[in-house]
C-alpha cells in the first residue's frame, strides 16, 4: 500500500514537472507594469506594487502559468511624471508587445498613460489612480480596480455629516487626486443636503512649509481639517498642524482622505501628530480575508518583513483581473480579454469584483469597492489595534470617536 502511494506521488511530481517544463519552454505572456521606481514620484508605492505583483505572478507560474505559458512582468519606471508614463506605456506596447498594462498609482500619470493605451486599444488596469477623470474619459480599454474619488468623497461627506460638525477646512495637494477629492467632498456634502461650512485650500505638494496656511486657521480653528494629500507632503502638513496647536486639539480633528495610516513609514514620520487622526482606509485587518489574501499576506511578510496594506491587495487584484481574463478568454487578444473583463466576475484578494458599464465616475470601475473608517488612538498604533468607526458595508458609529483632552 505504501509502495503504491509512493509510486502515485512520484508520478504526480513527474507530471507536474512536465507541465511546468512545458509552460516554461513556451514563449512567456508579457504583462507591462508602469510604476515609479525613482523620484520624484512615490517610489514606496511603486515598490509595494511591484513586490505584490511579483508574488502573484510567481504563484501563477508555480501552478503552470497561463494557457500553458509562463507570465512575465515587464517593468518600466515612470518616475511619477506624466510624460515619462506616456513614453513608458508606449515602449511597453510597441517594443515589448505586452498583452496589457497595469500598476499605475498616480492619477496624473494614469491620465497620460490611458491616452496611449486607448490609441493602441491595449487593456489598461488601473491599480491606484483615484481621480474620477480617469473614469469620466470613458475609454473602453481602462478597467479600474483602484479606489475612486467619488466613493471616497461620498464616504467622507457622510462621516462629516454624521459627526454633526459645523466648519470643515480641507488641505488639498495640487494634483488631480488631491483637488479632485477635496472638490468631491464639497459636492457630496451639497448632495446630502448638509449645511456644513466647507472650503478647501490648495497646497503645493513639493513645498516643505505649510505653516502660513495653518497659521490662518489658528484664530478660528475649524472642527475638522480634511487632508487630501499624499506623503511626504501629508506628513509635513500633519506635523505642522500639530506644532501650531491647530489639530489634533479638543476642538479640531484631522481626517485623512488618502489612507496613509497603513504606510510602513507613517509613524516614523509623524509621531505624536498622528494620534487621534481619523482616516478612510481601503484595508483593515478586521476585513474579511479569503484564501488568496491570506496567502498573499504570508508571502508578502516573508519576502519584505512588512505587514501588507491596501496597496498590496490592490496590486494583486489588478494583475488577477488581467490573468483571469486571459485564462477565461483562452487567448491574449486584446478585444477578447477586454470583453471578458467587462462581463465577468473576479474573485480577488478584496472580494468579488465586477465592473460598472454606466458612463461617468464609475465607468468600468469596481463600484462596490470595500472601505472602512477608523481612528488612531495611540502613537505607533498598528492598524489592527485602531478604533474601527465603520466596517465594510456597516453604518458609521460616531460615538466611538475620541477627542483629544
Amino acid at each position: 500500500m505504501r509502495i503504491l502511494q509512493l509510486i502515485k506521488l512520484n508520478l504526480s511530481v513527474v507530471v507536474l514537472g512536465l507541465f511546468t517544463l512545458e509552460a516554461f519552454a513556451a514563449e512567456p505572456i508579457l504583462i507591462g507594469l508602469s510604476i515609479t521606481r525613482s523620484p520624484p514620484g512615490s517610489v514606496i508605492q511603486g515598490t509595494q506594487i511591484k513586490d505584490a505583483m511579483e508574488i502573484y505572478a510567481d504563484m501563477i507560474n508555480a501552478k503552470g502559468g497561463l494557457l500553458g505559458r509562463p507570465i512575465k512582468l515587464v517593468i518600466e519606471d515612470n518616475q511619477g511624471l506624466p510624460e515619462k508614463g506616456r513614453s513608458a506605456v508606449e515602449k511597453l506596447i510597441t517594443r515589448d508587445k505586452v498583452v496589457a498594462v497595469t500598476g499605475a498609482h498616480q492619477s496624473s500619470v494614469c491620465l497620460s498613460e490611458i491616452e496611449v493605451a486607448h490609441r493602441y486599444q491595449t487593456p489598461y488596469v488601473n491599480t491606484n489612480c483615484w481621480a474620477d477623470s480617469v473614469r469620466i474619459k470613458g475609454y473602453p480599454e481602462v478597467i479600474n480596480t483602484s479606489p475612486y474619488n467619488f466613493i471616497v468623497a461620498d464616504s467622507m461627506a457622510e462621516t462629516l455629516k454624521a459627526m454633526k460638525v459645523k466648519r470643515v477646512v480641507a488641505f488639498a495637494e495640487n494634483t488631480d487626486y488631491g483637488i479632485g477629492l477635496a472638490k468631491g467632498v464639497g459636492e457630496a456634502l451639497k448632495r446630502k443636503g448638509s449645511t456644513i461650512d466647507y472650503k478647501f485650500e490648495t497646497l503645493d505638494r513639493s513645498s516643505k512649509d505649510f505653516t502660513p496656511a495653518i497659521l490662518a486657521l489658528k484664530s478660528n480653528p475649524p472642527d475638522v481639517v480634511v487632508l487630501t494629500m499624499l506623503p511626504p507632503a501629508a506628513y509635513i502638513a500633519l506635523n505642522q498642524l500639530y506644532e501650531q496647536g491647530v489639530a489634533p486639539s479638543p476642538k479640531t480633528l484631522v481626517y485623512d482622505g488618502a489612507g496613509m495610516a497603513d504606510y510602513p513609514d507613517f509613524w516614523q514620520n509623524v509621531k505624536d501628530a498622528g494620534k487621534y487622526m481619523m482616516t478612510i482606509g481601503m484595508y483593515h485587518p478586521d476585513m474579511k480575508m479569503n484564501d488568496l489574501s491570506k496567502q498573499i499576506a504570508v508571502e508578502y511578510k516573508k519576502r519584505t518583513k512588512n505587514d501588507p496594506n491596501r496597496l498590496i491587495y490592490q496590486a494583486v487584484d489588478s494583475l488577477l483581473v488581467i490573468t483571469e481574463a486571459i485564462r477565461q478568454a483562452g487567448t491574449t487578444d486584446s478585444a477578447k480579454i477586454l470583453d471578458v473583463m467587462r462581463k465577468s466576475k473576479f474573485e480577488g484578494a478584496r472580494g468579488l469584483m465586477t465592473f460598472d458599464t454606466f458612463p461617468g465616475v464609475s465607468y468600468q470601475q469596481w463600484a462596490a469597492i470595500p472601505y472602512v473608517n477608523y481612528q488612531l488612538t495611540d502613537v505607533n498604533q498598528a492598524v489592527g489595534k485602531t478604533t474601527l468607526l465603520q466596517g465594510p458595508g456597516m453604518p458609521l458609529n460616531t460615538s466611538k470617536i475620541t477627542m483629544p483632552k
Binding site: 525613482s38 523620484p39 520624484p40 512615490s42 517610489v43 514606496i44 515598490t47 495640487n174 485650500e201 490648495t202 497646497l203 503645493d204 513639493s206 513645498s207 516643505k208 512649509d209 505649510f210 505653516t211 502660513p212 496656511a213 497659521l215 490662518a216 489658528k218 484664530s219 506623503p231 511626504p232 506628513y235 509635513i236 506635523n239 505642522q240 500639530y242 506644532e243 501650531q244 496647536g245 510602513p264 513609514d265 516614523q268 514620520n269 509623524v270 509621531k271 505624536d272
Partner: protein, 296 residues
C-alpha cells in the same frame, strides 16, 4: 496677531534659506559657476544626521557636527575630482568651460539622488529633534522647539561665517581670489587651496542646514530640489557672489513668501519666488547688493 505669526515664521524660514544660499553664493563669487548639486549637499546632511542619530543612538547634538563634516568632505571630494579639472593648469579664469560645470554638477545631482534612493531607500525619513518639546509658546506665538533651536544655530553660524570672511587670513584670501584670481595668485595666494576651502565650507553649511531641517521637512532622496531652487532665487536677488546680499535676500524671501501665501494665494507661494527672480533680473540685474561691472 496673524501678521506677527507670519513674520516670525517667515524670518525662521529665511534663516534656513540663508544657510543654504551663502554657500552657493560663495562658490559663484569665486568660481563664477552655479553648482547644480548644491541641494544634494543639503540632502546628504539631512540623511547623515538622521541615520547616524537613529541607527547608532548618538545624541543629535553630537551628530550635527558629523553631518557638517560629511558635507565638507563631500565638498572637498567634488572639488578635487569634478571641479578642479575645470581650471587646473589655467592661471586665468576666463578659460573655464562653463558648460562643463553645468553638465558635471547636474549629473552629480542626479547621481547622488539615485544613489541614496537605491542604497537607503525612497521613504521619507524624519530625523530626531534637537529639542524634545514640539511646541513652545512665546507670547502669542507658537513655535516648534526644533525650529527655534535651529534658528539660533543658523544665526550663530551666519555671524561666525561673516566674521571669518571679514577678519581671518583665509577669509581675506577668499575675498582676494573672488576679486581677481590671477592677481591673488601673483600675490602668493594659492587659488586652488582657496577654491577647495570654499567647496568645503559650502558643502558643510548646506549639510548642516539639511541636518537642522531634517526633523521638520521629513527628507527623502529628492529633498534637495526645494532648498536649491530657493537658493538660486536668493543668490540672484542678493547679487551674484555677495554673501551679505544673500543673507539679506534670504530673510526677505522667507517673509514675503509667508505673507504672499496667506494674503494672496498659497497655491502660488513658490511661484512667487520665481516671480521675484524675474522682476530682479529685469529691473535690477545685479541684485540688491551686487555691484555693476563687466569682465573683458
Amino acid at each position: 496677531m496673524l501678521f506677527l505669526d507670519l513674520t516670525v515664521n517667515g524670518l525662521i524660514m529665511g534663516l534656513f534659506y540663508a544657510l543654504m544660499a551663502v554657500g552657493l553664493s560663495m562658490i559663484f563669487g569665486v568660481l563664477r559657476i552655479i553648482n547644480f548639486a548644491h541641494g544634494e549637499f543639503f540632502m546628504i546632511g539631512a540623511y547623515t544626521y538622521a541615520l547616524i542619530a537613529t541607527s547608532f543612538g548618538i545624541n543629535p547634538w553630537f551628530t550635527l557636527p558629523l553631518a557638517a563634516l560629511g558635507g565638507a568632505i563631500l565638498g572637498l571630494v567634488v572639488e578635487r575630482l569634478l571641479i578642479r579639472p575645470l581650471y587646473d593648469g589655467y592661471r586665468s579664469w576666463s578659460f573655464v568651460k562653463d558648460e562643463y560645470a553645468v553638465v558635471v554638477t547636474f549629473a552629480l545631482s542626479l547621481l547622488l539622488i539615485h544613489l541614496v534612493d537605491k542604497v537607503i531607500g525612497p521613504s521619507p525619513f524624519m530625523g530626531p529633534s534637537l529639542f524634545s518639546m514640539q511646541r513652545i509658546s512665546i507670547g502669542p506665538i507658537m513655535l516648534n522647539g526644533q525650529k527655534l533651536i535651529s534658528s539660533g544655530v543658523s544665526i550663530f553660524l551666519l555671524i561666525s561665517l561673516a566674521i571669518f570672511i571679514k577678519k581671518s587670513l583665509w577669509g581675506k584670501q577668499i575675498q582676494a581670489v573672488a576679486q581677481n584670481r590671477f592677481g591673488a595668485a601673483l600675490a602668493g595666494i594659492d587659488p586652488v587651496k582657496t577654491t577647495a576651502l570654499i567647496f568645503a565650507i559650502a558643502g558643510g553649511l548646506a549639510a548642516l542646514s539639511g541636518a537642522l531641517l531634517s526633523p521638520i521637512v521629513n527628507p527623502s532622496p529628492d529633498i534637495g530640489s526645494f532648498p536649491a531652487i530657493k537658493s538660486y532665487v536668493i543668490v540672484v536677488l542678493g547679487g551674484l557672489g555677495s554673501i551679505w546680499g544673500s543673507m539679506f535676500a534670504a530673510l526677505i524671501l522667507g517673509v514675503l513668501e509667508s505673507y504672499f501665501a496667506v494674503y494672496v494665494s498659497y497655491d502660488y507661494r513658490d511661484a512667487f519666488g520665481l516671480l521675484i527672480l524675474i522682476c530682479v533680473l529685469i529691473f535690477r540685474p545685479n541684485g540688491l547688493a551686487g555691484m555693476k561691472g563687466r569682465e573683458i
